[in-house]
Subunit: 201 residues, 6 copies
């Protein structure tokens, strides 16, 4: 096989996340790319982790950052299947999950050599589990979506972002981390202020 | 129910096709929207039909145009699931097809009243069957994709569009219409000329 | 002449409609291209025709779709002369009309062979006459413009789109089709709702 | 009338030139706006004038800059009628010229008060005459178009910009100014170098 | 040296102003380029000068236009250092000013021959002095910034543009020209009208 | 002070990196934002670290990711001063560094409360030191720039990206990490292949 062990292909695939916009079916004043989303999710997760530490909890920073940074890399290969479709049914969710793995095998890992094949396979599919780090990832993904909604609403693009905001906020509140509770009660109200149409009770 | 019988909602949903770009994971100099794609597929289908008529075949123009114009409208609701995913397996294709119908029911038809509900349900899901009109739709969809590839290659954006060009061309050639044979043998070579990297044998 | 009979050139010219934005002198949050406009006008026309049929009228679907789909194709060659200029005077309108035909002859039809030359010449210049199909085209063109105004106003881009909205609405109301009356009285109010600045009496 | 004497309206109209792209029917990697074009034409004219002075000619700098800066301001009101149309015939050119003046009167000057009405009317319609300053304007307009072609060709966007390049170059060469001859013989070859497809003999 | 005396390089550098957007750190609905800014500053300066003449003052139009047109050309080489940084301290301002000159020498003038080297060196660094023309430049630069703020506020992009508007307005008012006073008291209120959130006392 | 301890302000400032494009003075087919750059630098750093571990070296993953993720956050406040300016002289570099800290204090930290103020102050200014993690950051920053150059060259945008490519490659080679040597000798040649204009010896 090649000297590069397939790592060149990995970098070129990841770079495609720059081409992919989120919320594909909606008009947005400021459509973020999946790369920008991944960066910001990682920033949010870093903040939640700092708050967790202040609250006396400990976490594995290396594990956390890997989860945050890589959680959407597979989309470079599969595209961003909108969540209405992905979460339509358990059957669909499982099907998508299986397919994503197959496509990643065929388009990415089949060209990668050990030990990197094993390492990246773990990294790319190690996501939103019930560990503290997994929960922080789940919360950060929701918080980034909330902030995208807020950004649009502030610029008067209300439909469908006001409605989405409340739906996502409800999901966020179900995550029982002290950092999330602090975000919802103390940080979010400041972010939303001046955005008269909303409250975040 | 409302005086509008849900027709306002239909128009607003279709308009979302302006927001949706094709080939989501690739860099493109000129990314077309699903609306632009639908327009051009209809133009190509019109041309193929004129050629069929010159060859002595008859077709139902109303049926043809409805197929061409509406073949991607459902994507306004489901997003553009990239074809690598959609066509990964028969199981996936069927699953996607079922889900698309369910989502269309829940987000579009549930708000529509008769007789329009029945009419649009037929229009939106009456696609690439084996009728002459259905085959023209299938061919037009491929030809538009070919022309998108050619447009990018002409501007020196070769990867992955040269490869895609040849894959799509093979699919096109399997459609046994005289208009398609004429397109491949006589029109396509002129379109490709000046695009030195390719031939279209 | 060439094997393609000039049909390659026709497709390449039509594709230019993807490059051309509407309302050239105004700032827009979401500028549609002439291709997107043509697609949506055809969708609106399809809806008006369905409503006409419900009202017991009959129409020629093939003729209708050809009018709708092709009504702005000539602009690919002449550019989109803004309507303030085009409709400045009868003299100007006639002059523009004559020039458009000459330019189409020189840049498109001179390279096209029979029978396609005759067919496309008819298709491209068969527009807003007094037939039912011609009136549906005229109405659809206005309704698309209305919806572009509404889209901008909803995003707080009020000047000059509020003013344009009312001007176009008046023109629409002069078209005496039952489908148009139904659109104005029953569909438009739903579309405008939530757009507090306007009413559509 | 208003305290502003209509000068607010003038500024708001001129600002629309930021919205208007040139070469409306063509794909461009880098479409310039009419404002950017006007800026660059003025820069080119400044250079030609400096060269003229080096050659011992004298010119009226105030008059020159006014011609250069304002030569396309009227387009903010009329839109950019593409030159194929505008220069189709003498009759068309005269017609467009008359209409442009009428529209400027109705949309701009009717709201302006003296003395500014008289001053701006002169400024906006004092263009490409046979004075040295008028000829510099004409040459600068061509040179900017040449440089737009070169920019696209350099990025591999050859059709139709190679062809346009040679047509415009011929027009430029008909202007008998020493600064233009110097530009064509000594500056242009350097600009074109590295752009292998062209020479500028 | 070359026949072009380095003038080709000057034109290519200036053209880069088309690539550079203003207000780099803020979201804007309509981000102007440095070329568009330069064009509009020159238009504003022309208006202020006409008003000065009406008030009986005389000015050197050639000198004025050169100041207006060229005041940001050096940015094509140095980039647009945001003003918060540039004006952080006198030390910083002086440092930036020295560096800009050095970079211009190394990247532009070192390739230019006399007499153009001397002429352009004067033109590019002859800016906001205390002459009438220099004061008009300073005022025009502020007025363009005000109008960019107004444009964004009108489209509901209030933060940080409302705050910036008032800061810039205060700076503008410190310029003691009768044309500026007229602009502030009589033209600006008309421009701002309909933009309910602001007054311009 | 506020309940949010200034963390809301931090998130809003970081989000501005989505607005900021890199290589401000150059035309680019695909201009990346500072957020996208930060994401990709972190991906590259993760890869280099995995290679270091394979080579038997150990590193602090938490420390590494913090360096990678946050290395350009301060630019959200100061803007992206182009490197030609920043690295013009030691004096300039020091000056910029001092100013950046002052501006961060005034615009970010003055609103932040302990303990976060102390933590983020460390995170944001802990960059390219001589630790293994600091060297990986430095290398990753160069590799991302290389890949931006390659992306443009592949699309035929050669000037100035071919020249920049070689300059950056030289800088990269001065970093004496085994992962960097492996990247240069084994991964980069694969990435560059098909990009005929370059070699990467």
């Amino acid at each position: 096989m090649s000297l590069s062990k397939g790592l060149d292909k990995y970098l070129l695939e990841v770079r495609k996340l720059n081409n992919m916009g989120r919320w594909a079916t909606e008009f947005m004043h400021s459509r973020t790319t999946v790369s920008e989303h991944s960066f910001f999710v990682t920033q949010i997760g870093q903040m939640l982790a700092l708050i967790e530490e202040e609250n006396g909890n400990t976490l594995d920073w290396g594990k956390l950052f890997k989860k945050l940074l890589n959680h959407d890399v597979v989309e470079a290969i599969t595209g961003d299947i909108i969540s209405t479709v992905k979460h339509k049914s358990n059957e669909m969710r499982n099907m998508v999950s299986v397919i994503e793995k197959e496509i990643a095998e065929e388009n990415l890992f089949c060209n990668m050599e050990e030990p990197y094949k094993k390492i990246y396979r773990e990294i790319l599919f190690d996501g939103k589990d019930e560990s503290l780090e997994g929960q922080i990832l789940k919360a950060s993904d929701h918080i980034d979506a909330l902030m995208e909604c807020i950004g649009e609403i502030r610029l008067h693009n209300k439909s469908p972002f006001v409605e989405k905001y409340y739906i996502i906020l409800e999901k966020l509140k179900t995550i029982e981390l002290s950092s999330v509770q602090y975000f919802v009660s103390s940080i979010l109200p400041e972010i939303v202020s001046g955005c008269g149409e909303m409250n975040c009770e």
